[in-house]
């Protein structure tokens, strides 16, 4: 028998995975408690979930100054500040979503304990994907978050719209997963590895004039096809036109706190992986994938902004606006520079906080379940509830990119990245799209401020917690508009870029 120590295996360093371990642990605990102690445990489980998210946040924050190996668990997980940044953003979103969900489920009477477990698992999937340094890991994390979100979307299954939304999201999601998986296989076929840094290294061998013998020759052509398929998988998740069709239906049908959670969380998580895969694994092919992203970005911004105009339902309008925002972020990605990555990170953080609070206010205006969602229901909201009306107005102005809000700074940063990359036509499209977009954001503000309310009463049921959950993001929106340096300073660290990205002499 071979001695125990002879079989080599990678050293098991679980530190960089601690936030996910905490989240999954909390999820299991919630599941167990729900199974063993059924009944009206909503508040308790919500607090437990919140505590789990806070603990994961602390674990993630501690990783900021991680001194161990940068790639752990056999190269599957990257321990870089890039992942810490995104994890924190996602955890903030999740924490807000917990507060909103508790409020929603209690009032709509749809509470079941699984909800919080699903939320924790989805969050774990989202944070895991930001740290994944291997395509297999990316796929796993993507599926963890997707499966949880399919269920959460259909959580109000007695409401037909919710069930329908979940079904559509699931079918199309499975469709896109297939493409992603196909891309993964092709990437392996082309380079003989699924490790992101490994793919890049192998690709560099081919692109380099002299090829060392004995290495399986990778094929850049096949790798480009792989990049395309992987990109389609991500494009679906972040709602890039024409892979966006599920977005309005799913966002509209899902319970509003779920919409808030997934509109912010999925986009951040999927973009984090998108950026990492494209800048690290396919970094050597930057010049090849750039043009296609430029076209997709332009298409996304225009379609999202224009179609949002025709919407009368606020959730649907915000869904299209979320599509348009994907286009703006893609603009920075398409720049294919370190600066573009930073701008995209800033934009994502700003966008996530803004959209989660916006949907939170929509939820509070609904009062109970899914009511009061048409534009007309927002008549005179600023008069009926200055807090909700004013807060939503600030968030909408930020999404429209009007100074001095964080959305303005984010847009300017993204535009500057594209300008520097020389994408003038794209910048022109982006600026025009933001003009069109300003129109429908403004329309909602007009309705809130300049129409007589039909009912005089303010939407009932705000609590201190929900006020904080939407009030703090509003404050952050203004703060990051006036003092964006707070975030930019963080992003200025060179180590905040994805590990191994842009190390290829771009």
């Amino acid at each position: 028998m071979i001695p125990a120590a002879t079989l080599p295996h990678p050293p098991l360093v679980f530190g960089p995975l601690s936030p996910e371990l905490v989240l999954v642990g909390a999820g299991l605990l919630v599941m167990l408690i729900d199974a063993l102690r059924p009944g009206n445990t909503g508040r308790f489980l919500a607090s437990l979930t919140f505590a789990g998210i806070v603990a994961a946040g602390i674990a993630a924050a501690l990783l900021w100054n991680w001194h161990g190996p940068t790639l752990v668990l056999g190269g599957m997980i990257a321990a870089d500040r890039y992942s810490v940044f995104f994890r924190l953003v996602i955890l903030v979103v999740a924490a807000i979503a917990v507060v909103l969900s508790q409020h929603y489920l209690e009032r709509s009477g749809e509470y079941r304990g699984e909800y919080y477990a699903l939320l924790l698992f989805a969050t774990a999937g989202m944070t895991l994907i930001t740290a994944s340094a291997d395509l297999i890991m990316v796929f796993l994390a993507l599926e963890i978050l997707s499966l949880s979100l399919y269920l959460m979307t259909g959580f109000s299954f007695r409401r037909l719209a919710s069930a329908e939304a979940a079904m559509k999201y699931f079918l199309l999601g499975a469709f896109s997963s297939a493409f992603f998986l196909f891309g993964l296989a092709l990437a392996y076929g082309a380079t003989g590895t699924t490790n992101l840094a490994g793919i890049a290294t192998r690709l560099l061998f081919t692109l380099a004039p002299t090829q060392p013998r004995g290495v399986l020759l990778p094929s850049p052509a096949l790798a480009l096809v792989a990049a395309a398929f992987l990109g389609i998988g991500f494009a679906f998740k972040v709602s890039v036109v024409p892979f966006h069709m599920w977005t309005p239906d799913a966002y509209q049908g899902a319970p509003t706190p779920v919409t808030a959670f997934m509109s912010a969380g999925t986009k951040v998580a999927a973009f984090a992986a998108f950026l990492r895969v494209y800048t690290v694994a396919f970094g050597p092919l930057t010049n090849d994938w750039r043009p296609i992203l430029v076209v997709l970005a332009a298409l996304t911004m225009v379609v999202g902004s224009v179609l949002a105009i025709a919407q009368r339902d606020v959730k649907r309008m915000l869904a299209y606006s979320s599509v348009a925002h994907a286009g703006f972020i893609l603009t920075a990605v398409a720049a294919g520079t370190a600066e573009g990555v930073r701008d995209a990170m800033f934009y994502l953080a700003v966008y996530a906080v803004t959209i989660v609070a916006a949907f939170g206010i929509v939820m509070l205006v609904s009062v109970r379940g899914e009511r009061n969602l048409s534009l007309d229901d927002y008549r005179g909201l600023a008069r009926r509830s200055p807090f909700l009306g004013g807060g939503l107005a600030v968030l909408l102005l930020s999404m429209a990119g009007i100074p001095p809000t964080s959305g303005f700074v984010a847009k300017v940063a993204v535009f500057s990245a594209a300008v520097r990359a020389g994408f003038w036509p794209l910048v022109l499209v982006a600026v025009l799209a933001s003009v069109v977009a300003a129109f429908f954001y403004l329309r909602l503000i007009v309705v809130m401020y300049m129409r007589e309310p039909e009912v005089a009463a303010a939407p009932a049921g705000e609590t201190v917690l929900t006020r904080l959950a939407v009030g703090l993001p509003v404050a952050a929106t203004v703060l990051l508009g006036v003092l964006p340096g707070v975030l930019f300073d963080v992003l200025a660290h060179p180590s905040v870029l994805p590990l191994g990205g842009f190390g290829f002499g771009l």
């Binding site: 079904m167 559509k168 079918l171 199309l172 469709f175 052509a221 480009l224 096809v225 395309a228 389609i232 494009a235 024409p242 892979f243 069709m245 599920w246 043009p291 296609i292 379609v303 224009v306 179609l307 949002a308 105009i309 025709a310 600066e339 930073r342 701008d343 800033f346 009007i402 100074p403 001095p404 303005f408 700074v409 300017v412 940063a413 535009f415 500057s416 990245a417 300008v419 520097r420 020389g422 910048v427 600026v431 003009v435 069109v436 300003a438 129109f439 403004l442 329309r443 007009v446 401020y449 300049m450 129409r451 007589e452 003092l483 964006p484 340096g485 930019f488 300073d489 992003l491 200025a492």
Partner: protein
Amino acid sequence: MIALVPLFPLAAAAILLSTGRRWRGASAGWLASFAVAASFAVALAELSSLLSKAAPARHVITTLYRWVAVGGFSVDISFRADPLSSVMTLVVSGVGLLIFVYAIGYMRGDPRFPRFFAHMSLFVFFMLVLVTAENFLLLYVGWEGVGLCSYLLIGFWFERPSAAAAAKKAFVVTRIGDTAFLLGILLIWAKVHSLDFEVVFHQAPALAGGTVTAIALLLLGGAVGKSAQLPLSTWLPDAMEGPTPVSALIHAATMVTAGVYLVVRAHAIYAATSAGTEAVALVGLITALYGGLSAIAQDDIKRALAYSTMSQIGFMFFGAGIGAPSLAIFLLVTHAIYKALLFMGAGSVIHGLHDEQDMMKMGGMRRAMPLTGVLWIAGAWAISGIPPFAGFFSKDEIISAASLSGHTVMWGFALVGAVLTAVYAWRATFMTFFGETRVEREPHESPAVMTGPMTLLAIGALLAGLLGLKATGGVLVRFLQPVVGLPPQAGQGLSESGLTVISTVLALVGFVVAWFVYGSGRFDWVALRVRLAGLKRAGMSAFYLDDVYATVIGGPAKLAAAFTAFAIDLRIIDGIVTWMARGVGMAAVYGRRVQSGLVRTYALVFLVGVVGVLWYVAVKI
């Protein structure tokens, strides 16, 4: 210290927005006025500190902190104190203060009184940021901010659907210009890698000719939108739906002149491109004539003033375009004073007549409102460029400069503009304050809180001309010299005294024409108009029969006025804007059909995307 100037109105806005309902009576108005007064005091202190330095050293840059810093892109929150920003802050806070006090009287009793002053304070804050910013991005922040406040204030009386519609129109139309402006800023950044005025203006002459021209034209696009110049002018007359103090402050004295400020501030860029400056001059001149003609055809007193503002700003652009930016600023200053006065006068009349704006229902108002009448006449003297009031010094100097700089053809057209100015100013005066009274309700004089500021402005309208007195070499022009250089000096064209005589005579001609038709009593123009209206009382046309009649008597000018006001303004320009908006709307409606709700359609669209991406990849391979 300059950074303090915008701070007070911001504080007032914050206080009023958060605790608005607790401010009873007029207290909110006094709080806001006090804040603007504080800004004015600081601006004065800043001026004296600048004056204590030698002329070339008169610029101080205060950096508060680094605002945006990402990659190579960094922008500071920094403010600039120099003669130009000093003049602008004084105008904004000084005229602003008087309008605030006036508004306390005008808005008394309005249920949203505190909110009005909150928005007004916010506007003053953004406007002060705009004129003191040291880089393009911060200027853009102020730029968008004033646009937003303008939008909120135009729609202040949103119970009137027309007010809400006008607000939206103003926002959308000016944003078209803002788009160009933002692209211009991005182009500057792409080429210079900085947005600081110091750096950009220093490097502007070294840039490639095409680049500078592109930047200049894009910035001009922004200026044209904000300043309601052709072709983005249509929002300004509609913006008169806002309360009159708003019209006075935002749509006459300050915000609409931001475009002029931008062009003057960026004169180093314009100096490097003759195409850019020609475009500025041309846009200004055409708008000056167009606005002047349109103003003659208006019966609504505020719309007449709106077109007049458009025309006057056209003159400012014209001045900036022919190489006399300091004269443009001079006109900006005097115009802010006398146009604010005229708007306040109009507001006083409207107030006294219980919200009547139609000049056809006024007449003989000077008997009921003697003080308002006198003050209005002072404003009318000033705007029509008849000595010794301010307009004579400022506008006529621009017209003279056109001749002196060799733009003889433009000079000719500008003289026509001067005549038109006098005609519309005095037409409004005679229709409103002289002749038979046609009022339907008994008018009353306005309270002292309204007439007080007007009196001060009237004194200003009389004295502001001194700033440009040739005997002293033009105080303002010399003060601005370190920033924008000197206007064209005598050399080409006619002699200065000759030019002055010509334009003064023409202004008097305009006055006489207006008096002859509307003031002399020799024509019973009201009766004639009514009789003609009876012949053909089809809606709009009754309105324009006035002008058909005027064509017979007053010559072709009126026909042109009717044509521009009706054909160009309503049909073409408005049509283009509406058409564009409708196009986007149609696209949205048709695009929505693809969103059928069927998963198979969605999957199909998805597949189309896949095929598209793969097609690209195939081509690439």
